[in-house]
């Protein structure tokens, strides 16, 4: 557990370092995630080192955003004033995302499979 925490915090820190160097273009945590993935993929670190800690914290992630989510109480006024923009925007955009991702993936997969059989 401590070992896992050490590696996760270490990669978080490295991510923050890179983020600083690129003027915060991407948040340090996201860069840390990519770096940890690469380190595991290229066998720089043993997955056993982070397995337990990573599994525990990602499985219980939702509780970590309570402090931020409760902050909504400070924005009730903005939300009620822009209620339609928020609801319509989120609904249409979510539907469009689902449709495009599913269609692009299905089409490309089919084409890929056709390509494979053509080679055989």
């Amino acid at each position: 557990m401590i070992k896992g925490f050490f590696f996760i915090l270490l990669f978080y820190f490295l991510g923050q370092l890179v983020s600083l160097l690129i003027h915060g273009f991407i948040p340090g945590s996201v860069i840390g995630m990519i770096l940890l993935f690469l380190a595991l993929f290229f066998k720089v670190i043993n997955p056993e080192n982070v397995r337990t800690t990573a599994t525990v914290i990602t499985k219980n992630m939702a509780v970590f955003f309570v402090p931020a989510a409760v902050g909504l109480m400070a924005y009730i006024e903005i939300v009620s004033r822009n209620f339609l923009a928020i609801i319509v925007g989120i609904a249409i955009s979510t539907i469009l995302t689902i449709v495009t991702v599913a269609l692009v993936q299905e089409r490309m997969e089919k084409r890929g499979k056709k390509g494979d059989t053509a080679h055989e």
Binding site: P67, Y75, N82, G89, T97
Partner: protein
């Protein structure tokens, strides 16, 4: 009596009590969600419904609550980093489909950001609102840091991410059926990239592969969106 209340007040606005209350509310949420299987009863939503009225009634400032529960907020960063491990775990499912997965999530990310920003703009939303809406399709810790960086309000974004996840989780399976999507990878990707963890929970119900791919989509969508958000500022 009043004296006693005065003595108790610091106790009830202290770290120990507030964190206990958060954990307890969340556990109650998990219990209700598992019992009823109603998608709308997300533990986070239930926790908000308990904590917000509690703070209003007791008159504890949000700033105080935020400071006292900051340890939870801090954990958002490490939990994003830990997703790197989850991504690594699912790499087996992806072999041979890397290009199609990256392409479809990229297209979905562009469509998601552009559409929500333009619709909000058409309704007369201001910059704060647009910046808070733009990262709505990614998992909350990433969305919050993206919104913060871009002049949005993390609390608004957290709420939008939850709304987006609830909505996508509800309509996603219906849309995929209507479209006649057969590919398990396509189903999982669509759920995860549109509705992050809440979409993934629904994808898990479709099957293990759909669920794993959906989890993978959360990570890819997070990275893609992080890369795209700086360009979204041009739309504001």
């Amino acid at each position: 009596m009043n004296e006693l209340l005065e003595q108790l007040k610091p106790l009830f606005s202290g770290e120990v009590f507030l964190l206990t209350l958060v954990m307890g509310s969340f556990l109650l949420g998990v219990f209700l969600y598992k019992r009823t299987q109603i998608t709308l009863l997300q533990p986070l939503l239930i926790t908000m419904l308990i904590i917000i009225p509690f703070l209003k009634i007791t008159g504890i400032e949000y700033q105080t609550f935020y400071q006292k529960t900051n340890i939870l907020n801090f954990m958002l960063g490490p939990s994003v980093v830990a997703l790197g491990y989850v991504l690594y775990e699912q790499i087996e499912n992806v072999k041979g489909n890397v290009i199609s997965i990256l392409t479809s999530v990229f297209v979905g990310s562009v469509v998601g950001i552009v559409s929500v920003v333009l619709i909000a703009k058409a309704f007369g939303a201001d910059r704060l609102l647009m910046a808070s809406l733009a990262p709505k399709s990614v998992t909350t810790p990433i969305a919050i840091s993206l919104a913060e960086k871009d002049g949005g309000a993390p609390a608004l974004t957290a709420a939008f991410v939850v709304i987006c996840g609830l909505f996508g989780g509800l309509v996603g399976p219906i849309i995929l059926r209507r479209l006649g999507i057969n590919s398990k990878i396509a189903k999982g990707l669509a759920m995860g990239s549109s509705s992050h963890a809440l979409g993934t929970a629904r994808a898990m119900e479709m099957g293990a592969l759909e669920g794993a791919i959906s989890g993978l989509a959360i990570g890819i969508m997070g990275i893609m969106t992080a890369l795209l958000i700086p360009f979204a500022e041009w739309l504001f």
